[in-house]
Symmetry: C2
Subunit: 271 residues, 2 copies
């Protein structure tokens, strides 16, 4: 692995403020500027980092929802230093009048891709419409980045498709509620991310959130897994996980002279 091929991935475990787009915008802007100017090449922020999570009314969501063409997004793109790629979760107001739990991938040139969460968790179903597309795979100068959101990860067929479609790294903005986690153990979703990374031989970077909303807390489970499913970075007190990873190395799916994680599949037995 040549050092020149290593990419610095950073996940920043922010605490968005519920239904306060303006405050969240400033935090996003500041974080993008700080991290990309100090070396982050792929920066991942949490799910719904523009809006917070625990809406009690549709009005709270509506007050925060934006389109990917919102002028705020142009400000974020303008704050990106150099060639960095940023993935973040946001509340999207669709052209169809519906709201989506979405993510975007942007560079200094603007939005390269958007994605609408396909698998909605719990009360998200009361506020959001599920997306109708598979995870996008975006060709970047660092490699191919797939984007999915939180509960999407719990569908291994979805992760598999993303990997078969060519993702080297899957960026996963999440909001893992602490109440859903086993007490005293790693976040329940880590084993799922680990397994998905290992069986697909892809990198997976999950950016969770922190803070408190309506008395609820998050797992603060931000973590980066390599393409053997090994935990290579987790957010501690600094709410920040960072790792230098080799996206291109993930394209070799061979386990040994006789096995290849993809070629060994038997799709005729899965239908």
């Amino acid at each position: 692995m040549s050092e020149a091929r290593l990419t610095r991935v950073v996940c920043r475990q922010l605490a968005p403020r519920l239904a306060d787009l303006s405050a969240n915008h400033r935090q996003i802007l500041r974080t993008i500027a700080q991290e990309t100017s100090s070396g982050a090449q792929i920066l991942i922020l949490p799910e719904l980092v523009t809006s917070g999570y625990l809406f009690s009314t549709a009005a709270e969501l509506e007050a925060c929802a934006i389109t990917p063409t919102d002028p705020l997004v142009a400000e974020w793109a303008a704050a990106i230093s150099g060639e960095a790629v940023v993935v973040l979760g946001y509340a999207e107001r669709g052209d169809d009048g519906a709201f989506y739990n979405a993510a975007m991938l942007l560079t200094a040139d603007g939005v390269l891709a958007t994605y609408r969460k396909a698998h909605l968790w719990d009360e998200e179903k009361l506020f959001f419409t599920p997306g109708s597309s598979a995870a996008p795979i975006v060709e970047t100068r660092f490699g191919r980045i797939g984007v999915m959101i939180c509960y999407d990860l719990e569908f291994p067929e979805f992760t598999r498709r993303c990997a078969l479609d060519g993702a080297d790294l899957i960026a996963v903005p999440t909001n893992w509620l602490r109440e859903d986690q086993p007490v005293g153990e790693s976040p329940a979703n880590w084993c799922i991310a680990q397994a998905a990374a290992r069986v697909n031989r892809v990198l997976i970077a999950c950016c969770d959130r922190t803070g408190t909303e309506r008395g609820k807390e998050w797992a603060e489970g931000t973590a980066i897994f390599d393409h053997f499913g090994r935990l290579v970075a987790a957010a501690g007190q600094a709410h920040r996980a960072e790792s230098e990873v080799d996206l291109i190395a993930t394209r070799d799916k061979r386990w040994n002279a006789n096995n290849d994680a993809f070629a060994d599949r038997r799709p005729e037995l899965y239908a």
Copy 2:
């Protein structure tokens, strides 16, 4: 959960002797008699427990391979106490002249199902022909048992199909070589079994082996996971994992009032 519905699952992490069918037969017979007479209701033994694993010649395999109608199998069935179900891995001589890395599920009445490993690991490909069927699901008095073998688990579509086909518990005879495991950590396959148990809300019981063959050792990673992906039993020095589990409880796939692990699937996005 009523106690009457609990089923005692036991995995016995045996050390078969390479290419010595007679010794392995005696060990299987003794283990079945002991365990089923002392309370095991579902007993799982390792992959290739009739033959050992690291063949260097086809002759070694041929000397051990049996058909499911072999008189030895009738002896195992006769050794089963009461209503117990036994799952074990064996080297199968097919009617077609090919050899299969196989498993069988048997009761005192005889063989209820056989299965041929669909995903072969490493040099198994030199000796065995892969199976061409999905994991069987067997209706038993304790619930529905699916059977797969070792590397099969690394294909989440395969486990998913087994769960969608109705398995409450997936019995997985394995041979996890120690050299394939991360040093000082849990067996690499645990996260895969955990994730599969959790996303499918099924029980998974993996019976690994012990012993040494040609200088190689096994991970001794025998473990039982509940339908939330929690480790509920692992083999220690006694090479034996036991747990009382509720197979019927796995049929409720709901996470909460709004989510169901199966109903939330979006198959149109996975193709």
